[in-house]
């Protein structure tokens, strides 16, 4: 069925294709480009005469490793019976991307969705383009290539039909899985050829040049924007048939778990496996060497693997191990002591990252200075599916099955760890039972591959328990954010000084210098969108003593919490309405100019070219107005109830949330209603945008009230969902109303998976303040007010 798909990547050809795409993007619309589409449009009939070559725009996708690919031969197969197979190359972890991107292809090529099957791509970026499903990038980077891919295939089908009929291609119109022949008046002649009948001829045609490809106009969309397509795995999920990481079964497969050092950098000094080996079902015990050289990247922690006939026996065997560990220097890591240290650092000047105007003078001349300090604990992603990977090595060729966000990055590292060529490693991507950033790190896959290798290639399923997941993650960083606002005698904020202190993710990738790197300080810190003449953003040093990693929306969590809480605190001090004051702080409608606003030269705009994805204050203010209006901002509420608002731009999208809080008599913080507005630009799957926003409120509530990871003597103190708490149905945001801002097709698609998270915690804190006068500045805040 897939014989039309290229079986081998042709890197040279694809590099060329990529270059062509990026050249077109850089050139923008050339004269000839417009001319070509005008010519074709001239002979088209309604409604297709509304079609035009969408003005291509560059995205950060072009600069990601292996860029983007839009070759229909790579992504689309059509069988002789008409079945269409679309390759889905991004990882599905709950956003719906496995459905949404193929939907874009199918819509553009006029395929009948019920006749579309999906094929999940293995990790192969030279062939498919970048597959690192992280950073809310999938739609942002691939909506254009996927439209291009589908539209090219549509034109190839139409051209094939034209050749068969000996007709002008402009009279051949693809629709609903067939091509119809029209007469010169644009009326049906009754002649049709099905996609199946055209497949072989169409797929043999050259792919049209990008500038000759015409996109559907939005009124022709059958799938995009309709909200009627259900996720492709829905039936399988509800019947237990959906395949996650641990659900592949291979003949002779063993099951393994690993005992790892409690302290990062710890090593096995000695161990005794004799009792473990006596556990019925235990097959063998294998030592895994850890990666200790800095940078450790996603290298495995090392430890002792117990291999058994069942996961149960492996867990029993692990419990019977006696291991003496050598902890190393991180044993000193202590959350309380570290928080005090961060706080002391934040009280002093730090490395200046943004410097606009003269903040010192503003503070010297201020009538009043308002200071607040916000703390955040570490958090762990804790997706419902604990990490797991299956590995098998046959004849020097390794196959890995895993729920992984970045299968090609994993593949390269696995090849290096096994000391075999990358061509000899295949990474199959299962469904991910949640990811939230944890599954973009493949230490667990390296472990499985190494254990299989030690077993002579025996298939092995290496399962992390929940305790392993909670205690051996790459954690969301802990942080102190200190904000000082200088106010003049007219009640205007004239100075803004924000200091951030947090161990950096960059410690995972290079020698730690204790400072944030552009990706972190671009997330709601140096890009604070306030119309304040004097802004200074400083970063204090904080060395990492744990593995630090991505967590859904990353540094935006603590930055939005601090900035949006502080804005409300200042509003209160000045006796202003928090919503009106926030709009005033943001100031006039404009694209913020990073150069004249003192941004650092290495300002990171979510990897996107700034001219295409600027910080637009009108869009930010619009989501605030919409959320406020829909939430009934200004309504009077009973005692111990309140509304709080917060807004944040992240991943090139704009979100505002209004949280309605209700404090029970026993102090329990409840959220009867969240009203959110999101402007993510042009979008194709509103139903999944809503579900992402609903979920973001729930995860936002976990972040705000419940979830904290603490370290004592270098080890994580929590171990499972009974002490690492997350939102449950006993207390969750009861109703999340999501308002998606409709934008023209020309407004570039922004991210959706992450941007809903950051505004929740500050909106909740602001609501609690409105309800009770209590200001909570530490995350997690706890479920009950004291």
């Amino acid at each position: 069925m897939l014989h039309y798909l290229k079986t081998d990547a042709d890197p040279a050809a694809e590099k060329k294709a990529n270059a062509e795409i990026s050249n077109v993007s850089r050139r923008g619309v050339l004269g000839g480009f417009l001319g070509a589409s005008a010519f074709v449009m001239a002979v088209r009939f309604a409604p297709a005469d509304a079609r035009e070559a969408l003005k291509p725009y560059p995205t950060g996708g072009l600069k990601m490793p292996d860029g983007v690919v839009s070759d229909p031969h790579v992504f689309i197969a059509i069988a002789a019976n008409g079945d269409v197979t679309i390759v889905t190359h991004r990882s599905e972890m709950g956003t719906g991307i496995r459905t949404s991107l193929p939907m874009v292809v199918a819509d553009e090529m006029c395929a009948d969705w019920s006749r579309v099957r999906l094929m999940q791509a293995p990790g192969d970026e030279p062939k498919y383009g970048n597959q690192d499903t992280d950073g809310s990038r999938s739609m942002r980077h691939f909506i254009q290539p996927m439209r291009q891919c589908g539209a090219a295939m549509r034109q190839m089908l139409e051209a094939a039909a034209a050749a068969k009929w000996g007709a002008d291609a402009s009279l051949c119109r693809a629709r609903n899985h067939e091509v119809a022949l029209l007469d010169k008046e644009g009326k049906d002649t009754g002649k049709v050829l099905t996609f199946g009948e055209l497949a072989e001829a169409a797929l043999a045609l050259p792919v049209p040049a990008p500038e000759t490809i015409l996109y559907k106009s939005p009124d022709e969309f059958t799938l995009m924007g309709k909200g009627e397509v259900q996720i492709v795995d829905l039936h399988d999920i509800t019947t237990g048939k959906a395949g996650y990481g641990a659900d592949t079964r291979l003949p002779g497969m063993k099951f393994a778990v690993v005992a790892r050092p409690a302290v990062v950098g710890g090593k096995v000094k000695s161990y005794d496996a004799s009792a473990a080996l006596k556990v019925p079902g235990v097959h063998s015990v294998q030592e895994i060497e850890g990666v200790f050289a800095v940078p450790r990247k996603f290298g495995q922690l090392g430890g002792i693997a117990v291999v058994a006939d069942t996961t149960y026996a492996a867990i029993q065997g692990r419990a019977a191990l006696t291991i003496e560990w050598e902890n190393g220097p991180n044993v000193s890591y202590d959350t309380d002591a570290y928080a005090a240290e961060m706080s002391a650092t934040a009280a002093k000047p730090g490395k200046v990252l943004r410097n606009q105007g003269d903040a010192d003078a503003a503070f010297a001349n201020a009538k009043d200075v308002i200071t607040a300090e916000y703390h955040g604990q570490h958090m762990v992603q804790a997706p419902m599916e604990p990490l797991v990977a299956i590995a098998r090595i046959v004849d020097g060729k390794a196959e890995i099955w895993a729920p992984v966000q970045s299968p090609y990055g994993a593949r390269k590292d696995i090849a290096a760890a096994l000391k075999i060529p990358v061509e000899n490693v295949t990474v199959h991507v299962s469904l991910l039972g949640g990811g939230f950033g944890r599954k973009s790190k493949w230490d667990f896959m390296l472990e499985a591959a190494l254990v299989s290798q030690k077993l002579g290639g025996t298939p092995v399923l290496l399962q992390w328990t929940r305790e392993d997941d909670i205690q051996h993650s790459f954690y969301h960083t802990t942080s102190v954010e200190r904000i000082d606002a200088a106010v003049d005698d007219k009640g205007k904020v004239i100075g803004w000084r924000h200091r951030t202190v947090a161990p950096s993710i960059v410690s995972t990738f290079k020698a730690d210098d204790g400072y944030q790197f552009p990706i972190e300080y671009g997330m709601g810190f140096v890009d604070v969108p306030f119309d304040i003449p004097n802004i200074r953003c400083e970063n204090g040093q904080a060395m990492a003593h744990a593995r630090i990693g991505w967590y859904r929306s990353v540094s935006n969590i603590q930055r939005a919490f601090a900035v949006q809480s502080a804005a409300c605190e200042v509003a209160h001090k000045l006796g202003r309405d928090p919503k009106d004051f926030l709009l005033e702080l943001i100031g006039p409608d404009r694209n913020i100019d990073p150069k004249t606003s003192g941004f650092p030269d290495d300002f990171w705009n979510y990897g996107e070219p700034y001219e295409e994805f600027p910080i637009n204050t009108a869009r930010l203010k619009n989501v605030i107005r919409v959320a406020a209006e829909k939430a009934g901002w200004g309504q009077s509420l009973p005692p111990r109830e309140g509304l709080g608002i917060a807004a944040h731009r992240a991943f090139a999208s704009y979100v505002a949330s209004v949280v309605h809080v209700k404090i029970d008599d026993d102090g329990t913080i409840r959220v009867p209603q969240v009203t959110s507005a999101i402007d993510c630009g042009f979008h194709v799957n509103p139903e999944r945008i809503r579900s992402q926003m609903e979920g973001a409120a729930v995860m936002g509530m976990s972040n705000a009230l419940y979830s904290g990871i603490t370290f004592k003597k270098g080890a994580v103190e929590q171990s499972n969902y009974f002490d690492y708490n997350v939102t449950r149905m006993s207390n969750y945001p009861q109703k999340v109303s999501v308002h998606i801002i409709e934008t023209p097709e020309t407004t570039h698609a922004g991210g959706v998976g992450e941007p809903g998270v950051p505004p929740f915690a500050p909106a909740l804190a602001n609501a609690i303040f409105a309800a009770t006068g209590k200001r909570l500045r530490n995350l997690p805040m706890g479920e009950k007010l004291s």
């Binding site: 259900q230 509800t238 237990g240 659900d247 149960y312 990811g435 305790e467 997350v726 009861q734």
Partner: protein, 150 residues
């Protein structure tokens, strides 16, 4: 030698009676619809029915199940058309989907003994099933819908 019935099929069981049912159905019977989430009975991902009542299969041993009838998500309905499954699809509940087998088994157990649960009863029954993606609003709505008949 004792036995356990799983989705209507009788299985002779041997080996460690302390083995959690979870690992028996997953690693021995290869019924992978039941998920491992916490191993401590605090997340609900592994929920199955023991004689029709929702239990955590990670906290139920093979010994506990001996002589009893187990239903996993694969056996809830021969065609996947249980009222709860239909409601789940109608409301588009799942995001990543990993916890949903447990959620569905929990909801089906609730509705089997209480055909018209109040909102408070739904919350009480479902509060030990974690969904990290945060589908609670839709889970709640789907249970209501299933109770009313889909």
């Amino acid at each position: 030698m004792s036995s356990v019935t799983v989705n209507g099929e009788l299985h002779e069981i041997s080996g460690d009676p302390n083995m959690p049912l979870l690992w028996y159905v997953r690693d021995i019977l290869n019924l992978t619809g039941t998920k491992f989430g916490c191993g401590a009975g605090v997340c609900g991902a592994c929920t199955v029915h023991l004689d029709g009542v929702a239990v955590r299969s990670c906290q139920t041993t093979l010994g506990d199940a001996a002589g009893k009838s187990i239903t996993t998500i694969e056996g809830l309905s021969p065609d996947g058309e249980h009222a709860v499954q239909k409601a789940w699809r109608k409301i588009n509940v799942p995001q990543c989907g990993f916890c949903q087998a447990g959620q569905i088994m929990q909801a089906a157990s609730l509705l089997a003994k209480n055909r018209a649960p109040s909102d408070a009863e739904i919350v009480e029954a479902m509060s030990d099933n974690i969904c990290r993606c945060g589908c609670y609003q839709r889970i709640h709505e789907a249970v209501r819908l299933a109770a009313g008949g889909v």
